[in-house]
Amino acid sequence: MTKVAILSVAHMHAHGYCGALQAIQGVEITGVYDDNVERAQTFAEQRGINSFHNMDELINRSDAVIICSENANHLSYIERAARLGKPVLCEKPLSSDVESGLKILEVVQASRIPFYMALPIRFVPSVQQARMAVQNGSIGRVLSMCGTNHGSVPGGWFVEKELSGGGAVADHVPHVVDIMRWILGQDVTTVYAEISSGDFSPVIDDSAILTMSWSDGTFSTMDPSWSRKQGIYPEWGDVFLEVVGTKGVVTVDAHAQKIDAFTNQAPNHRYLSYGENADLNLVSEFVACIREGRKSEILASAEDGMHALRVAAAAYESAKTGRATSMMVTSS
């Protein structure tokens, strides 16, 4: 029996990860803890699991933990898990700012706990196949990439800068940057960003277009905007990626597998997904690594998370200064 605890359910993805844990054979959810006691209890009731008031006790009873707290609180939960020597799967982004992100890296490296980022796009089959197609040379040398990860305004702590670190840029840039980096095998060197607020969220950044230069001369753009208003668009968001090479083009629509549903409930036109459950694939890999005592070849690492965090920070810096910003600026 592999015992996994959930630390904080501030992020709604906790539901997806919990559902995945419940679907995997030989996994027991020891329980859920949250600084927000009521939130933990509600979640526990909804999912039919135990809620704990004592975090250390919960962690000690478990083989591993999944952290779904507000971005700014990742550090404190990670510190607790690290102190007790338990492997961690952490929701993205790594943290709410570069400084605390670097502290997380220190804690993880010093404690040597297995640590992975919950970046499920790496577990979408079409994305994995796109990576293989690119890396085996079917489109030649990569010249440019163009990606989107649209979404809707999440509300709550996501739009409170002290807890989230930022809006759409902080929320979605990590996903697309991670996938591009995973496919290309290079690092971002420069970021230019046009960022706006006020169309979907009054108080925090809600739309942007980022342009990135990569260490091998490739360039890319990405669109992390929270531009899909609830109740209007058929789905919450999307993940698209186009990779142009010297010999061809690869295009991925990570959510292409869906059916159209027309009903009289808003949104009247909705997409129902029949694609594979990437959360399940991700959590299964995490659990397998715990069981088998091995390192994952697929799951994103803390360093991967840190790189993505620095890209988001560089984007905010670029928007402030009006210049393309070197990643060197965000390294300390």
Partner: protein, 348 residues
């Protein structure tokens, strides 16, 4: 109205055929020194001239310039100096200096000019603009446009598209369509940031251009000569809704021949032969507004502003930094200096 078409290549052929279909317009000749031009004239049963000095100036009223971009200035100035109104293909010219000279030549001679920014006549773009101006989707936060296909074939004259000196490359020749359209919808552009692939051995051109408009809208424009087939797409994400279109999904007519009959693939028929194509619509706009002495849908200033966006994109793609642009008055005497930037960034 008697029209003389200069240039018998792809656009010359499209325009000439449009003129032939138009009522109250007479196509009086095609000027082109090459076989292709001769064949076009013969096919349309109109006189052919190898060079402009072979035709009598009294034989035409209006000139339609369809030669490669680097030759636009020469023929527009020639037409203006003869006192002829002129329609010029896009981009208006390769440089603002050339474009201003062309405008000045027209003004000096009291003739009028319009420029072939034909996307303003494509119905799917008109529909989007109309919806946006009617506030259908609120304030547009992010616009995404794609225009692309494979590199124009080497069979074009001297393979001129492949030379950036002659065509301006993908940011000028192809993407200027979307720059002009976006400006028509959202107003003046504030700054431009661009990255591009140029000069690849495999005839690939691609650029990813980001525009920030004075009204706050951000546009991501992708222009490609690296894809197969040709298509256009757009998405406008506004505070109150989204508009989207993909040309590959809009296929009103498909004709399919069974394999047993020797057919292999369905052929999508792009437009019913009797309906007016956008090239005809833009020429009708030109002729009608000449006759009625009214504004063209596309003015020379529009064409120059679109060119400035393309030039700023090219500059940004080389410098790696954004380029600020602001509207320019038409008079060449009154050009403000191009600042690299001072007044900066609110989020809008």
């Amino acid at each position: 109205m008697r029209v003389l078409v200069i240039g018998g290549g792809t656009m010359g052929s499209t325009h000439a055929n449009a003129h032939r279909r138009m009522v109250d317009v007479e196509l009086v000749g095609i000027v082109d020194p090459y076989e292709k031009g001769k064949a076009l004239a013969s096919q349309l049963e109109v006189p052919h001239f190898a060079f402009v000095d072979e035709i009598d100036a009294t034989a035409f009223d209006v000139v339609d310039v369809c030669v490669p971009t680097f030759l636009h200035r020469r023929y527009v100035e020639w037409a203006a100096n003869l006192g002829k109104h002129v329609f010029c293909e896009k981009p208006i010219a390769l440089t603002v200096e050339d474009a201003m000279a062309m405008v000045e030549a027209c003004e000096r001679n009291g003739v009028r000019m319009s420029v072939g920014h034909c996307v303003r006549f494509f119905p799917e773009y008109l529909a989007a603009r109309q919806a946006i101006l009617r506030n259908y989707i609120g304030h547009v936060a992010v616009a995404r446009l794609f225009r692309g296909g494979s590199h124009p074939r080497p069979t074009t004259w001297n393979d001129w598209y492949a030379s950036e000196n002659l065509s301006g490359g993908v940011m000028m020749d192809l993407m200027i369509h979307d720059f002009d359209f976006l400006r028509w919808v959202f107003g003046p552009v504030k700054r431009v940031y661009a990255k591009s692939i140029r000069g690849e051995a495999n005839r690939i051109g691609l650029a990813l251009v980001t525009l920030r408009f004075e009204n706050g809208t951000i546009a991501h424009v992708e222009g490609s000569w690296a894809h197969q087939g040709f298509g256009t797409r757009y998405e406008f994400a506004g505070s109150e809704g989204i508009l989207a279109h993909d040309s590959s999904l809009a296929r009103p007519l498909v004709v399919q021949t069974n394999e047993s009959q020797g057919g292999s693939q369905a052929v999508h028929v792009p437009g019913a032969p009797t309906s007016k194509n956008p090239y005809q619509l833009e020429l009708e706009d030109f002729i009608r507004n000449l006759r009625e002495d009214r504004d063209f849908r596309v003015t020379p200033n529009d064409a120059i502003e679109a060119l400035r966006i393309s030039l700023a994109a090219i500059q940004s793609s080389v410098s790696g930094q954004p380029v600020d642009i602001s509207p320019m008055p038409i008079s060449p005497m009154d050009i403000p200096p191009m600042d690299s930037s001072d007044e900066r960034r609110t989020s809008r």
